[in-house]
Amino acid sequence: METKFDIIVIGGGHAGCEAAAAAAKLGSRTLLISMNLETLAKMSCNPAMGGVAKGQIVREIDALGGLSGQVTDSATIQFRMLNTKKGPAMWSPRAQCDRFQFSANYRKRLEELEHLHFFQDMATTITKKKQFHIGTQMGYTFYSSSVVLTSGTFLNGSIHIGKDQYGGGRMSERPSIGITESLHRLGFSSARMKTGTPPRILSSTIDFSQTDIQHGDKNPKSFSFQRQKRLSVQRPCYITYTNNESHNVIRENLEKSAIFNGNIEGIGPRYCPSIEDKVNRFADKDRHQMFIEPEGWNTNEVYINGFSSSLPKETQQEALLKIPAFRKAQILRPGYAIEYDYFPPTQLKHNLETKLVEGLFFAGQINGTTGYEEAAAQGLMAGVNAHHKIRQSESLILGRDQAYIGVLIDDLITKGTDEPYRMFTSRAEYRLHLRQDNADERLMPVGYDLGLITQSAFQQMANDQSTVTKTIQYFSSHHIKPSEMQKIEPIDKLATPKHALSFSKLLSRPQVHIQDLFNVEREEFPFSNLDASILQKVETQIKYQGYLRREAETVDKFIQFKELNIPQNIDYKSFMSISTEGKQKLSDIQPKTFGEAQKISGVSQSDLSTLLIYLGR
């Protein structure tokens, strides 16, 4: 059996699959070790991808050349663009998925990759001599130059249902034992986190007349920028509510819950509380919302989002039966809480490589995050950077002004996290810029340079982009006379301006949309037949113009110096006011431009200021 690889990815969840795919696509001989190759890219929590802030991340992954967006599109059973009543920066795609198709399609895509190899086994030890040695439960040893560890909830995973407690990385799956201890020996520190899932129910036992139905969008979009066929059939979700009767059951049994009986020490996410936590903390609320999400096209199993619990299974059942829609509900699997080891992410560098062990990368829940999207994003970045590490080329680090992925990783590395970290748009200071609609403009050039985005996809984006630019130019240099403005419906209702105004000026009004301007378009520039996504981009850019400019001003106080040349052979050690680490790194790397100096991890903002002042700026 082959045992020598360039990169070994341990773990086959959303982080591991992206990491393995990226590394292999870039040309590294990559081995993916998973405890179960039948559960690759499994949706262990709810069967949906995207949502507010998370949808933006999936679009970014797609623009960089990751797989999550395309796989989601191939397994979508319902698509909704959330938040469309808010500004375009808030628009967030979300897809309900067939969880079985998702895994199967993902695996198929991975199997197509020439340089990717698979092995089913449990990695139990990590040691490093010249190379990494990965020992497994079956007694194999694999060797590689770099390792990406994506352990999810499996490291010493422990499942809790009421007072019952047993080892497991997911329901009915074994925990992973040995890696944590191996990492402790290398000097890493770990802590515990907790998360939970709700019960799954047989949909044929639900009284849907007691629920509200929620359909997908009439005009469903997709995640991937590389267009695919439209979704023609969709499945709905349903909404129902808990009530006082079910709350009473929960309240009476509160001390039996694993989070209240002292069995769980890990910290769970505040934004994803268990039902017993909600009933306890928000005692004045007499009902809580639940989403009934189908698990796939060909299954009767549904996911009861909003009812995650570590109460005893009998109590879960009893509380559910008090809810009209669930009077006869049959639970297929009870909800449970799971505790697992994570490694505080302040032990990492911005390329997701550990500070302690060169060539070792962490991605996903091991870094204290939660969510498929957050995991996948880190996996992609870790895979790319592991490849770059062994080729000794520059790490890919995205800025906070460049991508949600940049915000995510920067938050983890600089602030750490003590509860499972989930992305919110409010975490991004440049969120007007970090939109789902422009993820391609922001990141496809990066993906193309990496070699993960094809020439044709890149060209398509560049063409669209130039159409957008041309349209905006036309809009700002062509005017509409007051007499014509009556044809623009929202203007007609408002006071008609007395002077001719440019298309842009009119479009920058909150009430006016680009479609309203179709009536006044001219033969010389028929924009009404442009692609809807291009029209949307034009409108968004014009409406946001002023704000984006203001936002950009604060983006990077160093941006204007990116091209500034740095003379070689500077004696950095003589700079009294540069940090020791900064001196070391600058001396070793001898950056040629200020932009290069900025990208060196370990060179702080104040080191950069010093350098800038030395350079006479």
Binding site: N46, G51, V52, A53, L82, N83, K86, G87, A89, M90, Y241, P269, R270, Y271, C272, P273, K278, R281, F282, K285, H288, Q289, M290, F291, N305, G306, F424, T425, S426, R427, E429, R431, L432, P510, Q511, Y547, E551, M576, S577, S609, T610, I613, Y614
Partner: protein, 367 residues
Amino acid sequence: MVEISCHGSSYILKEILDLLIQNGAQPAQAGEFTERAFLHGKMDLSQAEAVADLIASENQASHRLALDQLRGGVSSEINELRKELIQFASLLELELDFGEEDVEFADREKLINLIENLQSLVNSLITSFQTGQAIKEGVLTALVGRPNAGKSTLLNTLLNDDRAIISNIPGTTRDTIEEFFELQGVKFRLIDTAGIRETKNTIENLGIERTMRNIEKAKIVVYLYDPLETSDAEVLQDVHYIKDKNLRGEIWVVRNKADLFRPNKDHITISAKNKEIKSLLDAFSSYASQLQIGDQTIITNARHKYELEQALSYLNNAQNGLKNGLSHDLLAFEIRYALKHLGNITGEIDIDRDILGTIFGQFCIGK
């Protein structure tokens, strides 16, 4: 690079700073110059730290002063304000990040009320700067009168000091003299001016111009006259003249040489030479007690005022936006800028954690 040299009065400094800021200059961040000096090798690290200590100790002293004297601290007020803003931002962000959740969102009416409340809070802090200046820099008090009315003698009596040159040659005091004295915890900044008199002597003219400017700005103009030299009609004429120049301040007419005349009940009567100035001191005392600031917090730092003005301008944008149906992401944008400027005062900048913390604390979030 422009270097401005001026007299070492903190009042003049503040005026110059205000003027520069009004015209678009931005105040340096705390420690910026020290940092630069350090980077340029003009200071070593310990010197830089010594500067930092010095700055800190000064702030601490003035902070304590503010706490003791003003019954409440600026930072606690700013923190309170920040909390309110975070609360407001949370209501906006709730709808942005948790639009799919089953929670009640604030309606526009409520948001408008909240923001108007915030605007008035920030506004009152900004306007308190005037009072704050008076307390920190002293109440500007111009001492005016015709030559030889005895202004310098009065000044010396007030200060028990012989600083101003006293002579009986009219027009001796060509430059303004600035002194402080304190009554009931209120500092009065006393400016002895050149006399009001037409003259061809250009040096003295300069002094007179300066006198006029001081009169214009003064909170109190003490007009002193000598009844032996100046007729009632002339006094009336001078008072009118001063009132023309100074529309807002108080004008106290003070008759000197009380030892020679019977008191005039409309005028404050003193004898500067005999150090009988009780009636004038009473007037200062009563002014000081009127300047009671109650529970209101006072801003005394020009940089704080600048940050508050910036914050207010973003709040105004947000208020306009709310009225014009601006989307919440853009409203939140304005509020974040306001928060950033408040953060520049208190140094707390981790906005997103605070906002998310507030949301999770108050709303049942999570499917």
